[in-house]
Amino acid sequence: MLQTNSLKFSYQNSQVFSFPDICCSSKETLLILGNSGTGKTTLLNLLSLLLNPAEGNVNINNINTSTLNEKTRTDFRAKNVGIVFQKPYFVNALNVSENLVLANYLGNYPIDKQKAAELAQNLGFHHLLSKKVQELSGGEQQRVCIARALMNSPKVIFADEPTSALDDENCEKVADLLEKQSQIIGAALIIVTHDYRLKTRFSNQITL
């Protein structure tokens, strides 16, 4: 589902990151480990098509994404990539349910409120759907973010430090949810983390 070939990237004139080749097929989970400053987030941005690599390419769903232009890449990302950011970002003026279907709208899919309700049920925040996002706790916000990443049934799900702010119990829960949900929709799951609690859980690992 996801393969990379000799990815390289550099921020203006500073050190050059070169990343090992990565491969992850659907329903599989890959853990990308590494200490701060080793370019974990940079790699995630490259993989999720938010940054363009200086060299090499990223193939998602057997499509070489470096052949796509700016506009089609945006569409491609919306349809094939789900991202759970390190921080729970939302459109604050909208409520939980609206934040979920926003993914449909921006990905040019029909608005699917039912799917939002289903995911909320599965992730255990069904009772929060009409609440404002600011009123949710950190753990709840994290789950809403995961649900949002699943809304368009993407081919690959990226999670950037999804558990760093959570306690052991919630960490376990979130890891379970991510794994289970990506398997339900048949997506590859890629988790970037330095959280050693996850290390013992997923065997498929790459260390930067």
Binding site: A78, N92, A93
Partner: protein
């Protein structure tokens, strides 16, 4: 969905949005009110002036003479003897002279003694009845008929003076013989009769008060409206009158221009104030959106990462600015109509002068364009910020 986001964002910042709309509303309503009142006053003033080249009356303020004689809104300057007019009527440069005699009212509407050509001059048309023929017969304007609910053959007693509360002339009653169609000129608000009726009523009093005075002296009129045959009259006659007689001659065109010039200063000051308010509204929209973009930088980057197009988000922010300024405009126009209605009632009470609640004026379309421009420019710079957002950097920043 997009409109929903726009609406929710506006709603999430209720106070800021309210301030923007409020400022825009006041700016627009002041300008619109000025435009409407200015237009209607000018319209009414120029309609009533049409054809009248000169007004002669007792010495005093020329503007007052014009306002009382032509527009029937100010107090008259005094009386002049009818005989003084005779030489004027003989002058070959003079086409027509309409003597007017006033001093009485009925329920605040002026009773004006005059001659039939005065009605013809305003192209008066009868809705009912006929013109006055004998003494104590009156023709009433449409507003008078409507307000006082007077019908044909009704009779009433006039009271002295131009205000409602005057001493009543109880013993002689006027009889309505004609009702005019509304023609949006000064005669809508007048009760018209022949000159003799006025004289007859006051003769009675005069005899009581100053018994034995000479008979001719009571044939006074208040003023006379004059039409010239040629512009030559305009050049020579006013000076002749002002130098050689007890009367004064005033030229409506000049006096009204002077009046508008005086009012114009006030109107210009108000307009400047209103434009300043509109600009402040624009700045307030700018600050609101600019802060919003700073606060919502993460939201914007998030939406971009989720497949949002920069152009769409750009229009989303522009729309916020435009909705604020357009709703300010709409509310401003509504407020100006309410203001117009109140002003109209006030003027109606004091001067029997109506303002019309008009549809959108041509100038107000320009105002809409101005409001849109303010909205666009205020929203443009913050909205362009969308193009500067670096998605990965913004979202990765802790």
């Amino acid at each position: 969905m997009l409109l929903k986001i726009v609406w929710k964002n506006i709603w999430a910042k209720k106070l800021n949005s309210f301030l923007c709309i409020l400022l825009m509303m006041f700016g627009i309503s002041i300008i619109s009110l000025l435009i409407n009142i200015g237009n209607q006053l000018q319209d009414k003033f120029s309609k009533n002036i049409s054809g009248i080249d000169m007004v002669v009356g007792a010495k005093g303020s020329p503007l007052q003479l014009i306002l009382s004689g032509v527009y029937q809104i100010d107090a008259p300057t005094g009386n002049i003897p009818m005989s003084e007019l005779q030489s004027l009527q003989m002058n070959p440069l003079v086409k027509q002279v309409f003597p007017l005699s006033m001093g009485d009212n009925y329920q605040g509407f002026r009773i004006v003694g005059t001659i039939h050509p005065y009605l013809k001059h305003f192209e008066a048309d009868y809705a009912e009845g006929v013109g006055f023929k004998t003494n104590m017969e009156v023709v009433i304007g449409s507003t008078v008929a409507k307000k006082l609910k007077l019908k044909l053959n009704d009779s009433f007693a006039s009271s002295h003076g131009l205000e409602k509360e005057g001493e009543a002339h109880g013993d002689k009653k006027y009889k309505v013989v004609g009702i005019l169609k509304s023609n949006n000129s000064v005669i809508d608000n007048l009760i018209l009769c022949n000159l003799n009726s006025i004289w007859e009523i006051h003769e009675h009093e005069d005899v009581e008060m100053h018994e034995g005075e000479a008979h001719e002296e009571k044939q006074n009129i208040t003023c006379a409206l004059v039409k010239f045959r040629s512009p030559m009259g305009l050049m020579t006659i006013p000076r002749l009158i002002n130098q050689n007689t007890q009367m004064q001659a005033a030229l409506p065109a000049i006096e009204i221009n002077r009046l508008f010039e005086l009012m114009g200063i006030g109107i210009d000051a108000f307009k400047a104030l209103a434009i300043a308010i509109m600009l402040i509204s624009g700045i307030s929209v700018f600050v609101t959106l600019y802060n919003a973009l700073k606060e919502r930088k993460y939201e914007m980057a998030l939406m971009l990462s989720m497949g949002g197009k920069r152009l769409v988000l750009f229009f989303m922010l522009m729309l916020e600015g435009l909705i604020l300024s357009i709703s300010g405009f709409v509310l401003g126009i509504i407020l100006s109509r309410i203001g117009l209605f109140l002003a109209s009632r006030l003027l109606d009470q004091n001067f029997n002068f109506n303002l019309h609640l008009t549809m959108l004026q041509k100038e107000e379309i320009y105002l809409l364009i101005a409001a849109l421009l303010v909205g666009i420019f205020a929203a443009l710079i913050p909205s362009l910020g969308i193009y500067k957002i670096n998605i990965s950097k913004t979202l990765a920043n802790d």
